[in-house]
Symmetry: C2
Subunit: 131 residues, 2 copies
DNA sequence: ATGATATTGAAAATGGTTTTCATAACCATA
DNA sequence: TATGGTTATGAAAACCATTTTCAATATCAT
């Protein structure tokens, strides 16, 4: 039975607040702020390690920001990683009509001759609120 | 009229040898090897700068490797960045049936309400030769 | 040639991420 | 509640791709 490191819950709670992708450093800063008064926050290394673990366990989803940072957010079951990210405010929405996209991707996978297919798909633009 | 830095040609020549994506460091190593005997190779910084310039000018295409490195290759006109990369050997092929994918993406773009849409799509798997 | 502008190399700085290592927390069992 | 083995943690250092700095060159128009 897997022991659950005590900080995992904290981190999941932070990521659970909304569905925006956040960098490890952002998560860490939130934890630091949040804990002023009540005990020490986990260190940056611990947050990195926890995020790795959570990704490995399938609880988190990752994408890379345009400048190469790794961003994390809570997975939604059957989430096939179709995201639409606003380049200005960073908000991420689900891609509408994702079924159509999934179908196309599956067909492509089948025709490719490749095995163990996985993909990431990142759509970015400027959201209505920002434009 | 734009002057062409003398190393751009060299670098394009290296990338022109095949359609695999390469990191800046890989390109640099090739240049270093290649130039044993005939004069000094360009420095790493110069290669970085040249690659930037070539991307800016639309001659190169980039993707990020799974571990966050930026990889470059020659653009093909009307290339809409649909790549299928082998996780083992790094070979990159074009995605078959890309038209279908394009169509789906265009519809999604229309339905999203986002402006200035751009996307990257990266499909990875294990190619027939490697499996 | 002359001077204005752009390119280059070498080394240092950046900055996200990972590793190290010593310490502390945890858990099962006796 | 000792005991010992396993895992988590923090702090600092190491990593490593990429950028920046800055002084020295090359390049171009004239």
């Amino acid at each position: 039975m897997a022991r659950t490191p005590r900080n995992d819950a904290l981190i999941l709670e932070v990521l659970g607040r909304n569905r925006r992708f956040r960098s490890c450093q952002e998560v860490h800063i939130v934890l630091v702020r949040r804990s002023s008064g009540q005990g020490k926050p986990p260190s940056l290394s611990t947050v990195y390690r926890a995020l790795h673990r959570l990704v490995r366990e399938g609880l988190l989803d990752t994408i890379r920001s345009p400048d190469g940072e790794l961003l994390y957010r809570l997975c939604r079951t059957s989430d096939r990683h179709h995201h639409l990210m606003c380049r200005l405010c960073g908000r991420v929405e689900d891609v509408p009509q994702a079924e159509e996209l999934s179908a196309a991707l599956d067909r492509i996978g089948g025709a490719s001759g490749f095995g163990g297919l996985d993909y990431t798909f990142e759509l970015s633009g400027v959201c209505p609120r920002c434009s």
